[in-house]
Amino acid sequence: MAKFREIFRGKSKYVTVRADSEEASAKKEVPDGLWTKCDQCGAMLYQKDLERNLYVCDKCGYHFRIGARVRIAQLVDDADAFVEFDKDLISTNPLDFPDYPQKLNATSEKTGLRDAVITGIGRIHGIETVLAVMDFYFMGGSMGSVVGERVTRAFERAGELGLPIVTVAASGGARMQEGILSLMQMEKTCAAVEKFSRKGLLFISVLADPTTAGVFGSFASLGDINIAEPGATIGFAGQRVIEETIRKPVPPSLQKAETVFNNGFIDMIVPRSELKREIGRLLLWHTAKGPIKSEKEAPSKGGERENDQGGNPQGEAGAQANPEASNPQGQAGSRESGAAQKAAASGGDLRMGVMAGSMESHLTVSGSANGTTNGPLKGGRADHTPA
């Protein structure tokens, strides 16, 4: 396990460039990384500027794909205070699918992640929130047993703690290598959403690029409020599959966030620079115990919007303009440490649950991770089902 700890120590490994496939991203990820070319307008962007700009091209507004850690840092007030759930859950190879363990290991090394979602608890504009953030760079963000289990538990814990949940989807769909068990995660997560929802709690689903197939066909579609990032690919069937089926070209706009919005499946498209503020406002409106002061009344709005999050994942600037300071959110604040502890504790309980479940032939628990042999790495598209 030394290997894994090694991986988790480094924070610099996260992929921050968009690529059409994992092969391409692996190539682009070369350590120099001083300049990045915008995939949309071709502008050469200085890495530091790009980072400060939340990985949005300042020339054309193109939203680069970002890994889960970067996303969490952009959304929560204090990334260091983010308490991660179920870190130690790892995938097995339940079908003995060829090359799968090698692929998992190679992907883990490359991304520093153990699977394609990070879940945990953090504060957004001071409001305690459970997050489940997917990472497209981990096998195309594909949903297998670990992703399904982590997402399900995130909803369960948010329900137990009475907290809102924000998910950020970035996934090509279900993970092929776990076959039918991946498909079953669609039911698990949908049922978890509904159980959570019946407690009257808020679920905000953010659909980032891409949100397709089995993830679009499950929890990501079911937010009380669905928010998409500009230009994100959102759809069920893969474009190539559609083209092969109907034997004609598909308009490139078909599965763009803007089209999906027009078709009525998304509540709003929010640029990354506004995302934290918008989520924060919605969280506040669903959690505040007293009257809420409109942002419109806040004197320092306008010009500060950009600065609010730009290059400042701590979001202190936002706290000024945000009404929660003058709201009975102190209540929530005093609850935080308790809730986080409780979450950690329940993590322990749930872990026991898995142990107990190991009696079942289909739920395998093993004491160790797979070997760390490096295997051939195939394209991102190789890890998810297009439909």
């Binding site: 079908l95 079953m184 499950s218 759809g235 089902t385």
Partner: protein
């Protein structure tokens, strides 16, 4: 495959033909071939055993795509005393790729739903090769909620390669409707029995496949992706579909072992099309038996147990040393 005969069946079918000829001879010409027939029958039986003992997952996938394999409406005709088909999703149109309605199961009204493939080219075109649009799933949701209102059990018969991948299907929210269907089906307070009769293709199958019991015909397949698409994506070579079929563990036997299904319903050697009545009889017996068990559960129990059934599915491990 030629004339509905699979390549691997050819020697067997040849033998069966010769036996049939000898029988006709005996009948028409009065010549006694009893001994020869008996010999050939023994030979045929041995061959049959050999062929079907080593049948591969890919062969099964082909078997359930046989043009004479019973369709959803065929089974509905055989399983139930009577059937009233209901139409339309109440939003945009009626989707002929998804059928549903109220049926009498030994005199008891149940709601039955399933994708419908065509039995010939003309019908296949009308039914979009059994690939439902979002409105097909909306119709299914409507009928399931209607079943809940009237306390009727729900039987779904699943034979679908997948939800239709098309422009209009995307525009009308194929992904969203599948998620909705899964979510609502999970919480319905009536017994749900799903039978995978042929192809169980991914989200398009699961959308009507969330049951208290999931049964599966012996040769049916159920997976997150079709073997062809898996081979195409993973190895960029659709010709490796047989290999993908093997790796995906998509057969009824595999799924029983994985805990995804509850029972395998046997088929005659060679596939369901060889004796549809016998298959329907076994299926009906299994449905009645499981329904009798589910009748003992309260509406809340039905929901809890259904959700728990799926909640435990997945293979995760704990990394040590944390």
């Amino acid at each position: 495959m030629a004339n509905g005969v699979f390549d691997w069946e050819v020697p067997l079918v040849e033998l069966e033909k010769r036996i049939e000829e000898l029988r006709r001879f005996t009948r028409d010409e009065g010549i006694d071939f009893a001994e020869e027939i008996a010999t050939l029958e023994r030979k045929a039986e041995k061959l049959r055993q050999e062929i079907y003992a080593s049948i591969t997952p890919w062969q099964r996938v082909q078997m359930v795509r046989h043009s004479r394999r019973p369709t959803t409406l065929d089974y509905i005709g055989m399983l139930f005393d009577d059937f009233v088909e209901l139409h339309g999703d109440r939003t945009i149109r009626d989707d002929p790729a998804m059928v549903g309605g109220i049926a009498l199961l030994d005199g008891r009204p149940v709601t039955v739903i399933g994708p419908q493939k065509g039995r010939d080219t003309k019908e296949n075109i009308r039914r979009n090769f059994g690939l439902p649009h979002p409105e097909g799933y909306r119709k299914a949701i409507r009928l399931m909620e209607q079943a809940e209102k009237f306390g009727r059990p729900i039987i779904t018969l699943i034979d679908v390669v997948g939800a239709y991948p098309g422009i209009e299907a995307e525009e009308r929210g194929q992904g969203v409707v599948i998620a909705e269907s899964i979510r609502r089906m999970s919480f319905l307070k009536v017994p749900i029995i799903c039978v995978i009769t042929g192809e169980g293709g991914s989200g398009g199958a699961l959308a009507i496949g969330v049951g208290n019991r999931v049964l599966m015909l012996e040769n049916a397949w159920y997976s997150v992706i079709s073997p062809e698409m898996c081979a195409q994506i993973l190895w960029r070579d659709v010709k490796r579909a047989p290999e993908a079929a093997q790796s995906l563990r998509l057969t009824a036997k595999d799924l029983l072992e994985l805990g995804v299904i509850d029972e395998v319903i046997p088929e005659p050697m060679g596939g369901a099309h060889r004796d549809p009545q016998a298959v329907a009889a076994s299926m009906k017996e299994a449905i009645l038996r499981h329904l009798a068990q589910l009748d003992q559960e309260s509406p809340d129990e039905l929901v809890e147990k259904r959700i728990a059934r799926y909640r435990r599915l997945g293979a995760v491990a704990l990394a040590s040393g944390e």
